[in-house]
Symmetry: C2
C-alpha cells in the first residue's frame, strides 16, 4: 500500500485571487508581516500496490483528473505503508 500526498498550486504566471483575498484578510486581522499567500489543493490518496510504477500512476492521475495542467502545477510525496494483518 502507498500513502500519496499531492500538492496542487497555480503556476507562478497565473493570478491567484484566492491567495490575494486570504492575504488581505490576514492583514485585516493584524498579521501585517504576511508577505505572500498561495492557495492550493491537497490530496491524500491510499493506493494498493498492483506492481505498476506508482510514480507513473500518480502522474497520470494528476494529468488526467486532479490538476488542470494548463493553469496548475503539482508535486507529490509517496510513502510505502506496510499493511498489517487486519488491514
Amino acid at each position: 500500500m502507498y500513502h500519496v500526498k499531492v500538492y496542487i498550486t497555480y503556476k507562478p504566471s497565473i493570478l491567484d485571487p484566492q491567495g490575494e483575498a486570504v492575504k488581505t484578510a490576514l492583514h485585516r486581522l493584524d498579521y501585517q508581516n504576511v508577505e505572500t499567500v498561495t492557495v492550493g489543493k491537497y490530496f491524500e490518496i491510499d493506493i494498493k500496490d498492483d506492481g505498476r510504477s506508482i510514480e507513473d500512476e500518480v502522474e497520470k492521475m494528476c494529468d488526467e483528473l486532479l490538476a488542470n495542467v494548463n493553469m496548475e502545477t503539482y508535486r507529490y510525496e509517496i510513502e510505502s505503508v506496510t499493511q498489517t494483518a487486519e488491514d
Copy 2:
C-alpha cells in the same frame, strides 16, 4: 523570512464528499487500486520575521481564519528562508 506550508483536512469523523467524488472518478478512469481519497486545502505563506514566535502566529492564523476548527484539522511546516540583499 519564513516560508510556511499549511495543510488543512477534514477531521476523520467528518464525511468528505469531495474525497468520495474524486475516488469514484479515479475508479472510472480505471484506477481501481485507489482505496481512499482525502481532499484538503493547502497554503504557502511567506511571513516576515518580526521577532514573535512563528509557531504561535501560524496557529492563530489557522484558528482565526484558515481552518474551520469545528470540522477541520491542520498541520504546518516552517522553513526559515535567509533573505538575500535584493529581496
